[in-house]
Symmetry: C2
Subunit: 227 residues, 2 copies
Amino acid sequence: MLHPIAENLSKINLFKNLTIEKLESIIKSKNSEIKDYKKKEIIFFRGQKFEYLLVLIFGEVITEMNDFNGKVVQVERIKAPSLLAPGFLFNSKNCSPVDILADSRVTILKLEKSYILQLCKDNDEFLENFLKIVSNKLTFLSEKLYLNSLKTIKEKIIFYLISLYNSQNKANEIILPISLEELSHLFGVARPSLSREFINLEKEGLIMKNNNKIKILNKEELLLNKE
Amino acid sequence: MLHPIAENLSKINLFKNLTIEKLESIIKSKNSEIKDYKKKEIIFFRGQKFEYLLVLIFGEVITEMNDFNGKVVQVERIKAPSLLAPGFLFNSKNCSPVDILADSRVTILKLEKSYILQLCKDNDEFLENFLKIVSNKLTFLSEKLYLNSLKTIKEKIIFYLISLYNSQNKANEIILPISLEELSHLFGVARPSLSREFINLEKEGLIMKNNNKIKILNKEELLLNKE
Protein backbone atom coordinates (compact mmCIF):
# COMPACT_ATOMS: atom_id res chain seq x y z
CA MET A 1 0.00 0.00 0.00
CA LEU A 2 1.20 3.48 -0.84
CA HIS A 3 2.41 5.57 2.09
CA PRO A 4 0.10 8.62 2.52
CA ILE A 5 3.05 11.02 2.14
CA ALA A 6 4.13 9.33 -1.08
CA GLU A 7 0.54 9.39 -2.26
CA ASN A 8 0.23 13.15 -1.76
CA LEU A 9 3.68 13.71 -3.28
CA SER A 10 2.56 11.90 -6.43
CA LYS A 11 -0.32 14.39 -6.83
CA ILE A 12 2.09 17.31 -7.25
CA ASN A 13 3.09 18.10 -10.84
CA LEU A 14 6.81 18.13 -10.01
CA PHE A 15 6.66 14.47 -8.97
CA LYS A 16 4.24 13.36 -11.67
CA ASN A 17 5.24 10.19 -13.51
CA LEU A 18 7.91 9.25 -10.96
CA THR A 19 7.76 5.59 -9.87
CA ILE A 20 6.52 4.68 -6.40
CA GLU A 21 10.02 3.43 -5.57
CA LYS A 22 11.47 6.78 -6.58
CA LEU A 23 8.92 8.70 -4.49
CA GLU A 24 9.67 6.54 -1.46
CA SER A 25 13.40 6.95 -1.93
CA ILE A 26 12.92 10.75 -2.03
CA ILE A 27 10.96 10.69 1.25
CA LYS A 28 13.53 8.44 2.95
CA SER A 29 16.58 10.22 1.55
CA LYS A 30 19.14 11.68 3.96
CA ASN A 31 18.68 14.92 1.97
CA SER A 32 15.06 15.23 2.97
CA GLU A 33 13.26 15.81 6.25
CA ILE A 34 9.62 15.65 7.34
CA LYS A 35 8.45 18.32 9.75
CA ASP A 36 5.13 18.97 11.48
CA TYR A 37 3.78 22.38 12.47
CA LYS A 38 0.90 23.49 14.65
CA LYS A 39 -1.70 26.02 13.52
CA LYS A 40 -0.31 29.62 13.64
CA GLU A 41 3.30 28.40 13.70
CA ILE A 42 5.67 30.19 11.33
CA ILE A 43 7.14 27.81 8.76
CA PHE A 44 9.34 30.33 7.02
CA PHE A 45 10.32 33.94 7.71
CA ARG A 46 10.60 36.60 5.06
CA GLY A 47 14.26 37.22 4.31
CA GLN A 48 15.23 33.76 5.58
CA LYS A 49 17.61 31.93 3.22
CA PHE A 50 16.18 29.12 1.12
CA GLU A 51 18.13 25.95 1.85
CA TYR A 52 15.28 23.60 1.02
CA LEU A 53 12.40 23.17 -1.36
CA LEU A 54 9.34 23.12 0.89
CA VAL A 55 6.62 20.65 -0.08
CA LEU A 56 3.27 21.03 1.66
CA ILE A 57 2.09 17.45 2.21
CA PHE A 58 -0.84 17.93 4.61
CA GLY A 59 -2.71 21.00 5.80
CA GLU A 60 -3.07 24.62 4.74
CA VAL A 61 -0.71 27.58 4.87
CA ILE A 62 -1.03 31.29 4.24
CA THR A 63 1.69 33.58 2.94
CA GLU A 64 1.84 37.08 4.39
CA MET A 65 3.72 40.29 4.01
CA ASN A 66 3.59 43.55 5.94
CA ASP A 67 2.72 46.87 4.39
CA PHE A 68 4.32 50.13 5.52
CA ASN A 69 2.35 50.44 8.68
CA GLY A 70 3.14 46.91 9.72
CA LYS A 71 -0.40 45.89 8.72
CA VAL A 72 -0.42 42.26 7.60
CA VAL A 73 -1.44 41.65 4.00
CA GLN A 74 -2.40 38.06 3.20
CA VAL A 75 -0.92 37.16 -0.14
CA GLU A 76 -2.12 33.65 -0.79
CA ARG A 77 -3.73 30.60 0.80
CA ILE A 78 -2.22 27.29 -0.27
CA LYS A 79 -3.73 23.85 0.32
CA ALA A 80 -1.84 20.54 0.35
CA PRO A 81 -0.51 18.91 -1.67
CA SER A 82 1.54 21.72 -3.18
CA LEU A 83 5.03 23.17 -3.53
CA LEU A 84 5.73 26.35 -1.54
CA ALA A 85 7.41 29.18 -3.48
CA PRO A 86 9.36 26.88 -5.85
CA GLY A 87 10.10 29.80 -8.16
CA PHE A 88 12.18 31.62 -5.57
CA LEU A 89 14.39 28.69 -4.57
CA PHE A 90 17.19 29.45 -7.01
CA ASN A 91 17.10 33.25 -7.18
CA SER A 92 20.30 35.18 -6.45
CA LYS A 93 18.86 36.80 -3.35
CA ASN A 94 18.02 33.27 -2.28
CA CYS A 95 15.38 34.40 0.14
CA SER A 96 11.63 34.41 0.50
CA PRO A 97 9.67 37.63 -0.12
CA VAL A 98 6.92 36.51 2.27
CA ASP A 99 6.33 34.81 5.61
CA ILE A 100 4.75 31.35 5.42
CA LEU A 101 2.40 30.45 8.29
CA ALA A 102 0.62 27.21 9.17
CA ASP A 103 -3.16 27.72 9.11
CA SER A 104 -3.95 24.19 10.35
CA ARG A 105 -1.82 21.25 11.43
CA VAL A 106 0.73 21.05 8.67
CA THR A 107 3.24 18.48 7.43
CA ILE A 108 6.11 19.73 5.29
CA LEU A 109 8.64 17.67 3.37
CA LYS A 110 11.90 19.63 3.14
CA LEU A 111 14.18 18.71 0.25
CA GLU A 112 17.72 20.09 0.22
CA LYS A 113 18.47 22.46 -2.65
CA SER A 114 21.45 20.40 -3.81
CA TYR A 115 19.19 17.33 -3.81
CA ILE A 116 16.74 19.12 -6.14
CA LEU A 117 19.63 19.77 -8.55
CA GLN A 118 20.60 16.11 -8.30
CA LEU A 119 17.03 14.99 -9.04
CA CYS A 120 16.97 17.33 -12.06
CA LYS A 121 20.11 15.77 -13.43
CA ASP A 122 19.10 12.17 -12.76
CA ASN A 123 15.58 12.40 -13.98
CA ASP A 124 14.34 13.88 -17.29
CA GLU A 125 10.74 14.13 -16.14
CA PHE A 126 11.67 15.87 -12.91
CA LEU A 127 13.84 18.43 -14.74
CA GLU A 128 11.14 19.20 -17.30
CA ASN A 129 8.45 19.36 -14.62
CA PHE A 130 10.48 21.79 -12.54
CA LEU A 131 11.26 24.05 -15.50
CA LYS A 132 7.61 23.95 -16.55
CA ILE A 133 6.37 24.91 -13.09
CA VAL A 134 8.71 27.89 -12.77
CA SER A 135 8.09 28.95 -16.36
CA ASN A 136 4.32 28.78 -15.90
CA LYS A 137 4.54 30.97 -12.80
CA LEU A 138 6.58 33.46 -14.76
CA THR A 139 4.02 33.49 -17.59
CA PHE A 140 1.19 33.93 -15.08
CA LEU A 141 2.90 36.91 -13.39
CA SER A 142 3.80 38.50 -16.68
CA GLU A 143 0.17 38.29 -17.85
CA LYS A 144 -1.04 39.53 -14.49
CA LEU A 145 1.29 42.50 -14.71
CA TYR A 146 -0.12 43.46 -18.09
CA LEU A 147 -3.70 42.85 -16.98
CA ASN A 148 -3.08 45.10 -13.95
CA SER A 149 -2.42 47.98 -16.29
CA LEU A 150 -5.95 47.58 -17.73
CA LYS A 151 -8.56 49.45 -15.77
CA THR A 152 -11.91 47.69 -16.11
CA ILE A 153 -12.80 44.00 -15.72
CA LYS A 154 -14.29 44.20 -19.20
CA GLU A 155 -10.96 45.30 -20.67
CA LYS A 156 -9.22 42.49 -18.82
CA ILE A 157 -11.65 39.85 -20.11
CA ILE A 158 -11.41 41.10 -23.68
CA PHE A 159 -7.61 41.22 -23.61
CA TYR A 160 -7.55 37.72 -22.18
CA LEU A 161 -10.01 36.31 -24.74
CA ILE A 162 -8.13 37.91 -27.63
CA SER A 163 -4.83 36.42 -26.48
CA LEU A 164 -6.46 32.99 -26.17
CA TYR A 165 -7.98 33.49 -29.62
CA ASN A 166 -4.51 34.21 -31.00
CA SER A 167 -2.84 31.28 -29.27
CA GLN A 168 -5.65 28.80 -30.05
CA ASN A 169 -5.26 28.93 -33.83
CA LYS A 170 -7.74 31.81 -34.26
CA ALA A 171 -10.79 29.58 -33.95
CA ASN A 172 -14.02 31.34 -33.00
CA GLU A 173 -14.61 28.91 -30.18
CA ILE A 174 -12.11 29.44 -27.39
CA ILE A 175 -11.41 27.05 -24.52
CA LEU A 176 -10.75 28.68 -21.14
CA PRO A 177 -7.69 26.78 -19.86
CA ILE A 178 -8.31 27.79 -16.23
CA SER A 179 -11.37 27.98 -13.96
CA LEU A 180 -13.25 31.24 -13.26
CA GLU A 181 -11.82 31.03 -9.74
CA GLU A 182 -8.25 31.01 -11.11
CA LEU A 183 -9.13 33.67 -13.65
CA SER A 184 -10.35 35.97 -10.87
CA HIS A 185 -6.94 35.54 -9.16
CA LEU A 186 -5.15 36.32 -12.41
CA PHE A 187 -7.24 39.48 -12.82
CA GLY A 188 -7.03 40.36 -9.15
CA VAL A 189 -10.82 40.84 -8.97
CA ALA A 190 -13.65 39.23 -7.01
CA ARG A 191 -15.14 36.10 -8.52
CA PRO A 192 -18.78 37.40 -8.55
CA SER A 193 -17.75 40.63 -10.34
CA LEU A 194 -16.02 38.53 -12.98
CA SER A 195 -19.10 36.33 -13.53
CA ARG A 196 -21.29 39.44 -13.78
CA GLU A 197 -19.06 40.90 -16.47
CA PHE A 198 -19.17 37.66 -18.49
CA ILE A 199 -22.97 37.82 -18.33
CA ASN A 200 -22.86 41.45 -19.53
CA LEU A 201 -20.72 40.48 -22.51
CA GLU A 202 -23.25 37.76 -23.35
CA LYS A 203 -26.17 40.21 -23.04
CA GLU A 204 -24.39 42.55 -25.43
CA GLY A 205 -24.21 39.69 -27.94
CA LEU A 206 -20.42 39.72 -28.07
CA ILE A 207 -19.74 36.24 -26.74
CA MET A 208 -21.59 33.06 -25.81
CA LYS A 209 -20.25 31.21 -22.77
CA ASN A 210 -20.91 27.54 -22.10
CA ASN A 211 -18.84 26.32 -19.15
CA ASN A 212 -15.22 26.56 -20.28
CA LYS A 213 -16.17 27.13 -23.94
CA ILE A 214 -16.51 30.66 -25.20
CA LYS A 215 -17.76 31.51 -28.64
CA ILE A 216 -16.70 34.89 -30.02
CA LEU A 217 -19.76 36.20 -31.85
CA ASN A 218 -18.34 39.45 -33.12
CA LYS A 219 -14.61 39.88 -32.94
CA GLU A 220 -14.49 43.34 -34.50
CA GLU A 221 -17.10 44.71 -32.14
CA LEU A 222 -15.45 42.96 -29.19
CA LEU A 223 -12.21 44.76 -29.99
CA LEU A 224 -14.00 48.11 -30.00
CA ASN A 225 -15.70 47.37 -26.68
CA LYS A 226 -12.96 48.05 -24.26
CA GLU A 227 -14.79 50.47 -22.02
CA MET B 1 41.89 33.14 -30.67
CA LEU B 2 38.33 33.02 -29.40
CA HIS B 3 35.62 33.05 -32.06
CA PRO B 4 33.54 36.29 -31.73
CA ILE B 5 30.33 34.28 -31.31
CA ALA B 6 31.90 32.17 -28.55
CA GLU B 7 33.24 35.33 -26.96
CA ASN B 8 29.80 36.93 -26.79
CA LEU B 9 28.25 33.68 -25.63
CA SER B 10 30.69 33.58 -22.71
CA LYS B 11 29.42 37.00 -21.55
CA ILE B 12 25.90 35.67 -20.95
CA ASN B 13 25.24 34.38 -17.42
CA LEU B 14 23.82 31.10 -18.66
CA PHE B 15 27.14 30.18 -20.27
CA LYS B 16 29.33 31.60 -17.53
CA ASN B 17 32.15 29.33 -16.38
CA LEU B 18 31.79 26.96 -19.34
CA THR B 19 35.11 26.09 -20.98
CA ILE B 20 36.00 27.52 -24.39
CA GLU B 21 35.85 24.00 -25.82
CA LYS B 22 32.33 23.60 -24.44
CA LEU B 23 31.19 26.95 -25.88
CA GLU B 24 32.58 26.04 -29.29
CA SER B 25 30.96 22.63 -29.19
CA ILE B 26 27.61 24.32 -28.42
CA ILE B 27 27.96 26.66 -31.40
CA LYS B 28 28.95 23.83 -33.75
CA SER B 29 26.39 21.35 -32.43
CA LYS B 30 23.87 19.85 -34.85
CA ASN B 31 21.23 21.02 -32.33
CA SER B 32 22.09 24.64 -32.83
CA GLU B 33 21.80 27.07 -35.71
CA ILE B 34 23.12 30.58 -36.39
CA LYS B 35 20.77 32.96 -38.17
CA ASP B 36 21.14 36.56 -39.36
CA TYR B 37 18.33 39.10 -39.61
CA LYS B 38 18.07 42.52 -41.22
CA LYS B 39 16.75 45.57 -39.39
CA LYS B 40 12.91 45.49 -39.08
CA GLU B 41 12.77 41.75 -39.76
CA ILE B 42 10.55 39.74 -37.42
CA ILE B 43 12.54 37.15 -35.48
CA PHE B 44 9.63 35.64 -33.61
CA PHE B 45 5.85 36.04 -33.80
CA ARG B 46 3.59 36.22 -30.80
CA GLY B 47 1.79 32.90 -30.41
CA GLN B 48 4.51 31.06 -32.32
CA LYS B 49 5.65 27.85 -30.61
CA PHE B 50 9.01 27.88 -28.85
CA GLU B 51 11.19 25.14 -30.31
CA TYR B 52 14.46 26.89 -29.55
CA LEU B 53 16.15 29.02 -26.95
CA LEU B 54 17.02 32.23 -28.81
CA VAL B 55 20.38 33.77 -27.94
CA LEU B 56 21.01 37.29 -29.19
CA ILE B 57 24.70 37.31 -30.18
CA PHE B 58 25.01 40.60 -32.12
CA GLY B 59 22.67 43.56 -32.54
CA GLU B 60 19.54 44.90 -30.85
CA VAL B 61 15.96 43.71 -30.77
CA ILE B 62 12.70 45.13 -29.49
CA THR B 63 9.77 43.15 -28.18
CA GLU B 64 6.29 44.41 -29.05
CA MET B 65 2.70 43.67 -28.35
CA ASN B 66 -0.51 45.22 -29.72
CA ASP B 67 -3.07 46.90 -27.57
CA PHE B 68 -6.80 46.71 -28.30
CA ASN B 69 -6.76 49.16 -31.13
CA GLY B 70 -3.89 47.41 -32.84
CA LYS B 71 -1.57 50.15 -31.59
CA VAL B 72 1.94 48.78 -31.09
CA VAL B 73 3.27 48.91 -27.53
CA GLN B 74 7.02 48.46 -27.21
CA VAL B 75 7.70 46.23 -24.27
CA GLU B 76 11.47 46.07 -24.07
CA ARG B 77 14.68 46.83 -25.94
CA ILE B 78 17.34 44.14 -25.61
CA LYS B 79 21.00 44.50 -26.57
CA ALA B 80 23.41 41.67 -27.39
CA PRO B 81 24.68 39.55 -25.83
CA SER B 82 21.52 38.31 -24.12
CA LEU B 83 18.99 35.51 -23.95
CA LEU B 84 15.56 36.24 -25.46
CA ALA B 85 12.57 35.29 -23.29
CA PRO B 86 14.30 32.31 -21.59
CA GLY B 87 11.59 32.21 -18.92
CA PHE B 88 8.87 31.30 -21.40
CA LEU B 89 10.69 28.45 -23.13
CA PHE B 90 9.29 25.68 -20.95
CA ASN B 91 5.82 27.01 -20.14
CA SER B 92 2.81 24.81 -20.89
CA LYS B 93 1.44 27.19 -23.51
CA ASN B 94 4.90 26.98 -25.04
CA CYS B 95 4.50 30.22 -26.92
CA SER B 96 5.76 33.78 -26.82
CA PRO B 97 3.54 36.55 -25.45
CA VAL B 98 5.28 39.15 -27.65
CA ASP B 99 6.68 39.70 -31.13
CA ILE B 100 10.47 39.97 -31.33
CA LEU B 101 11.81 42.34 -34.01
CA ALA B 102 15.34 43.09 -35.20
CA ASP B 103 16.20 46.75 -34.62
CA SER B 104 19.62 46.52 -36.31
CA ARG B 105 21.47 43.76 -38.12
CA VAL B 106 21.08 40.86 -35.75
CA THR B 107 22.72 37.47 -35.24
CA ILE B 108 20.79 34.85 -33.29
CA LEU B 109 22.05 31.50 -32.04
CA LYS B 110 19.11 29.08 -31.88
CA LEU B 111 19.49 26.17 -29.46
CA GLU B 112 16.97 23.34 -29.62
CA LYS B 113 14.83 22.92 -26.52
CA SER B 114 15.84 19.29 -26.08
CA TYR B 115 19.48 20.37 -26.33
CA ILE B 116 18.95 22.85 -23.46
CA LEU B 117 17.60 19.98 -21.34
CA GLN B 118 20.65 17.91 -22.32
CA LEU B 119 23.02 20.74 -21.35
CA CYS B 120 21.21 21.06 -18.00
CA LYS B 121 21.71 17.38 -17.29
CA ASP B 122 25.33 17.24 -18.42
CA ASN B 123 26.52 20.38 -16.77
CA ASP B 124 25.96 21.45 -13.16
CA GLU B 125 26.85 25.09 -13.80
CA PHE B 126 24.53 25.34 -16.78
CA LEU B 127 21.60 23.87 -14.81
CA GLU B 128 22.15 26.19 -11.86
CA ASN B 129 22.63 29.20 -14.14
CA PHE B 130 19.41 28.46 -16.01
CA LEU B 131 17.38 28.00 -12.82
CA LYS B 132 18.87 31.16 -11.39
CA ILE B 133 18.02 33.22 -14.48
CA VAL B 134 14.39 32.09 -14.56
CA SER B 135 14.05 32.40 -10.80
CA ASN B 136 15.48 35.94 -10.84
CA LYS B 137 13.01 36.98 -13.53
CA LEU B 138 10.20 35.59 -11.43
CA THR B 139 11.41 37.49 -8.37
CA PHE B 140 11.71 40.67 -10.44
CA LEU B 141 8.14 40.35 -11.80
CA SER B 142 6.73 39.49 -8.42
CA GLU B 143 8.35 42.60 -6.89
CA LYS B 144 7.21 44.70 -9.83
CA LEU B 145 3.65 43.49 -9.37
CA TYR B 146 3.68 44.54 -5.74
CA LEU B 147 5.39 47.85 -6.53
CA ASN B 148 2.71 48.53 -9.16
CA SER B 149 0.09 48.48 -6.45
CA LEU B 150 1.88 51.37 -4.71
CA LYS B 151 0.81 54.75 -6.00
CA THR B 152 3.68 57.21 -5.62
CA ILE B 153 7.35 56.89 -6.56
CA LYS B 154 8.15 57.74 -2.98
CA GLU B 155 6.13 54.77 -1.70
CA LYS B 156 7.90 52.54 -4.20
CA ILE B 157 11.36 53.70 -3.14
CA ILE B 158 10.58 53.30 0.55
CA PHE B 159 9.13 49.82 0.08
CA TYR B 160 12.17 48.84 -1.96
CA LEU B 161 14.66 50.25 0.56
CA ILE B 162 12.91 48.55 3.46
CA SER B 163 12.98 45.17 1.71
CA LEU B 164 16.70 45.63 0.98
CA TYR B 165 17.20 46.61 4.61
CA ASN B 166 15.49 43.40 5.72
CA SER B 167 17.42 41.18 3.31
CA GLN B 168 20.80 42.84 3.94
CA ASN B 169 21.04 41.91 7.62
CA LYS B 170 19.29 45.08 8.81
CA ALA B 171 22.40 47.23 8.47
CA ASN B 172 21.77 50.96 8.22
CA GLU B 173 23.86 51.20 5.08
CA ILE B 174 22.14 49.50 2.17
CA ILE B 175 23.74 48.54 -1.14
CA LEU B 176 21.55 49.02 -4.23
CA PRO B 177 22.06 45.76 -6.15
CA ILE B 178 20.88 47.28 -9.45
CA SER B 179 21.47 50.56 -11.30
CA LEU B 180 19.02 53.50 -11.19
CA GLU B 181 18.26 52.69 -14.82
CA GLU B 182 17.20 49.13 -13.89
CA LEU B 183 15.37 50.42 -10.83
CA SER B 184 13.32 52.77 -13.00
CA HIS B 185 12.29 49.75 -15.12
CA LEU B 186 11.36 47.80 -12.01
CA PHE B 187 9.21 50.71 -10.82
CA GLY B 188 7.85 51.41 -14.27
CA VAL B 189 8.70 55.11 -13.94
CA ALA B 190 10.94 57.56 -15.82
CA ARG B 191 14.57 57.65 -14.76
CA PRO B 192 14.64 61.47 -14.07
CA SER B 193 11.52 61.28 -11.86
CA LEU B 194 13.20 58.54 -9.87
CA SER B 195 16.39 60.57 -9.36
CA ARG B 196 14.31 63.60 -8.32
CA GLU B 197 12.52 61.54 -5.68
CA PHE B 198 15.82 60.25 -4.28
CA ILE B 199 16.99 63.87 -3.98
CA ASN B 200 13.75 64.77 -2.17
CA LEU B 201 14.27 61.95 0.32
CA GLU B 202 17.80 63.27 0.96
CA LYS B 203 16.50 66.82 1.41
CA GLU B 204 14.02 65.55 3.95
CA GLY B 205 16.93 64.02 5.86
CA LEU B 206 15.58 60.48 5.59
CA ILE B 207 18.42 58.93 3.59
CA MET B 208 21.89 59.77 2.31
CA LYS B 209 22.76 58.41 -1.14
CA ASN B 210 26.30 57.93 -2.38
CA ASN B 211 26.31 56.09 -5.72
CA ASN B 212 24.97 52.63 -4.95
CA LYS B 213 25.25 53.07 -1.18
CA ILE B 214 22.26 54.35 0.73
CA LYS B 215 22.36 55.22 4.39
CA ILE B 216 19.04 55.13 6.21
CA LEU B 217 19.14 58.09 8.57
CA ASN B 218 15.80 57.62 10.23
CA LYS B 219 14.05 54.32 9.71
CA GLU B 220 11.01 55.09 11.86
CA GLU B 221 10.34 58.37 10.09
CA LEU B 222 10.99 56.77 6.71
CA LEU B 223 8.29 54.20 7.44
CA LEU B 224 5.82 56.96 8.26
CA ASN B 225 6.67 58.89 5.09
CA LYS B 226 4.79 56.96 2.53
CA GLU B 227 2.86 59.81 0.98
